[in-house]
């Protein structure tokens, strides 16, 4: 039996400690030892469907859990049945005989929903392949990361959900294999997974970013690119105000030439101190993609510049000494970051996966963000920093870039996006300062969206306006997957109901 009950009814708290499921009954979905992946997920999906039936009979709502990393509490529901998925984590290579004619199987992998992004990355690299983007950390589950549109700062890429080519989703009424109308896997393979085929572009685009509201995702077909190397450059530099204009117009080459290498960068990230962002040095990170070669000198994730967690350690000090915030933040930036390889240091290289780290819980974090049209960047960035600092925001402000991402509910919905993150130690003052930023953007009439996973205080009315026609299509797709309102309610929670996703 792939599902086991864990202990007796009790509380479960998410990773950031932002929410607790009271009176939760915990279950774990575990991988089995079936020889073929399709048999394994057929068995698991059957068990999940039975489990959903049992939950409905017990009049309990359900909540699937990945790594529990989302601080927006979309992973929290009380008096419910929780399904932990991290031990459902096998990965399987896909053969050319399993896909439809014309589909290239060489980059595809079948992934059980609970496999961590790190695990998927490792397994792809073993086969000479790689993810083309992911978040700053890689300790999320693949299904959980895709569920919220997790992204990094690869300029020409969208979100992690863009890797998903097909999914298996379990609802109380059935086990569905969802893929785009053009199809990916062949009918014999899909039959082997015990699923009913649903080939539809809208349902697929909804399921690529389901926010945990469309059923339980048990498996995903993940696409990849040939493995590549990245060369990181990381430094602390005072950034000229004019450089924001280059970034806004997509002239990343000029930005890179001014602060790192005179080459087209693939990844650009800028972390500023919102207290005087152009007077104090910013932490810059660039990645330059290069063809794979086996004999590159190996470096540790630290040498490759992974993580900037030292920032969270100053949390209490920042809250306790508001007058020293600017200086303390700058001190933390220096402590946490200056060690990366600068332009004149010997070059270090790593694969995509080697440059990322699974996060270690050092302190309570606050995560929030706004995604804007990159063209608005020069106009609003300073304004955002000013409002945030004036109201006591105690985190650094990070600027990342990405292209339009797939999925009807992808927050990165502008052709070119600038994502402004507020990541650091958690405090009420910081949350209030972020709320002022949102108010100010609204007052200025600037279009923006917010991250599903972060503490962004979204509500149903706002989701409907932000996503417009795409939200209507997402709900129509949801109603095809879950036509019975009772089944939709089974996946409800205070937060998801409030966002208008489950009711």
């Amino acid at each position: 039996m792939p599902i086991v009950r864990l202990g007796s009814e009790g509380c479960w708290t998410n990773y950031h400690g932002t929410g607790t499921c009271e009176a939760a009954t915990r279950f774990a979905l575990r991988s089995g030892d079936a020889e073929r992946g399709r048999d394994e997920i057929a068995i698991a999906a059957g068990s999940v469907q039975d489990w959903l039936g049992d939950a409905a009979a017990a009049q309990r709502r359900v909540r699937p859990l990945g790594a529990g990393w989302s601080p927006s509490n979309i992973n929290v529901a009380s008096q419910c049945w929780l399904l932990h998925t991290r031990r459902f984590n096998r990965c399987f290579g896909i053969d050319a005989a399993d896909v439809r004619p014309g589909v290239d199987a060489s980059g595809l992998m079948l992934v059980e929903a609970g496999a961590l992004v790190d695990e998927v990355s490792d397994k792809l690299e073993q086969q000479g392949r790689s993810l083309w983007t992911s978040g700053a950390g890689n300790g999320q589950t693949f299904a959980g990361a895709a569920a919220t549109g997790t992204h990094g700062s690869m300029i020409a890429s969208g979100g992690i959900q863009d890797h998903v080519r097909a999914l298996q989703i379990v609802t109380p009424a059935g086990v569905h294999w969802v893929e785009p109308a053009a199809g990916v896997m062949n009918d014999a393979f899909i039959a082997g997974t015990g699923s009913t085929l649903l080939r539809d572009d809208d349902v697929f685009a909804a399921a690529q970013l389901p926010v945990g509201a469309l059923g339980i995702v048990t498996a995903l077909v993940v696409d990849s690119v040939p493995k590549f190397l990245v060369r990181p450059i990381q430094n602390l530099r005072k950034v000229n105000r004019a450089a924001l204009g280059w970034l806004a117009t997509g002239d990343f080459r000029r930005f890179s030439a001014a602060y790192a290498l005179d080459r087209d960068p693939d990844f650009v990230q800028m972390i500023v101190n919102p207290y005087k962002p152009f007077k104090r040095p910013a932490m810059l990170r660039f990645l330059y993609r290069e063809p794979w070669r086996d004999d590159y000198p190996r470096a540790t994730p630290g040498q490759l510049g992974a993580g900037y967690d030292a920032l969270s350690l100053l949390g209490r000090l920042l809250d306790d000494y508001p007058w020293a915030r600017g200086a303390l933040l700058q001190f933390a930036m220096k402590l946490g970051y200056a060690s990366g390889p600068d332009v004149d240091a010997p070059a270090v290289y790593g694969s995509w996966g080697e440059g990322l780290d699974t996060h270690r819980p050092l302190a309570d974090l606050f995560n929030a963000s706004v995604t804007i049209d990159r063209a608005d960047l020069a106009r609003v960035f300073e304004l955002i920093c000013g409002v945030y600092a004036r109201h006591g925001g105690s985190t650094v402000v990070t600027l990342r870039f990405m292209s339009r991402a797939q999925g009807l509910l992808a927050p990165a919905r502008f052709p070119h996006n600038a994502v402004i993150d507020f990541d650091g130690p958690r405090s009420e003052r910081t949350a209030a300062a972020y709320a002022r930023v949102v108010e100010r953007l609204d007052a200025e009439g600037i279009a923006f969206t917010r991250h599903w996973a972060k503490s962004c205080n979204l509500d149903g009315a706002r989701v409907a306006t932000d996503y417009g026609e795409d939200f209507r299509r997402w709900r129509a797709a949801r109603d095809r997957l879950l036509p019975d309102p009772a089944h939709r309610a089974l996946f409800g929670s205070e937060v998801l109901d409030g966002l208008g996703l489950t009711c």
Binding site: L6, G7, W12, A28, S31, E35, R36, G37, R38, E40, G68, H84, R86, R87, N89, R90, C91, F92, G93, I94, D95, D98, L110, G114, L116, D118, E119, D122, K123, Q126, Q127, G139, F189, T358, R360, P361, L362
Partner: protein, 109 residues
């Protein structure tokens, strides 16, 4: 002579304050490529300056058949204060760990 006393008192205070801050530091040990499950924790009280140790609950971790990914040892502010106030006789610390989810070889779909 008076100032020597004050200087000594100030020094002792700084020594104690340093212990108070350092006592709350995290000691974190992790394996190289972790695949962690949820964090579990328990409080262990060292008694009599370390002659005896007592855990508030037995070391039970529901999903540890693949071993542990990482272990953290730290004291909260309150635990550090208890330790200082009892002259170190009681030394409560929190031990937190995350079990490993397991790694399987790549299979065939």
């Amino acid at each position: 002579m008076m100032w020597v006393g004050w200087a000594l008192a100030a020094l002792l205070f700084l020594v104690l304050f340093g212990q108070y801050l350092a006592g709350q530091a995290d000691i974190f040990v992790s394996i190289a490529n972790p695949r962690p499950l949820d964090e579990e924790s328990m409080v262990v009280v060292l008694k009599g300056w370390g002659f005896a140790a007592h855990a508030a609950q037995p070391f039970v971790t529901p999903e540890s058949d693949h071993g542990l990914c990482d272990v953290r040892v730290f004291a909260t502010r309150r635990q550090t204060l208890v330790s200082l106030a009892s002259f170190g006789f009681l030394r409560p610390v929190t031990v937190a760990w995350r079990a490993h989810a397991g790694v399987f070889p790549l299979g065939d779909a």
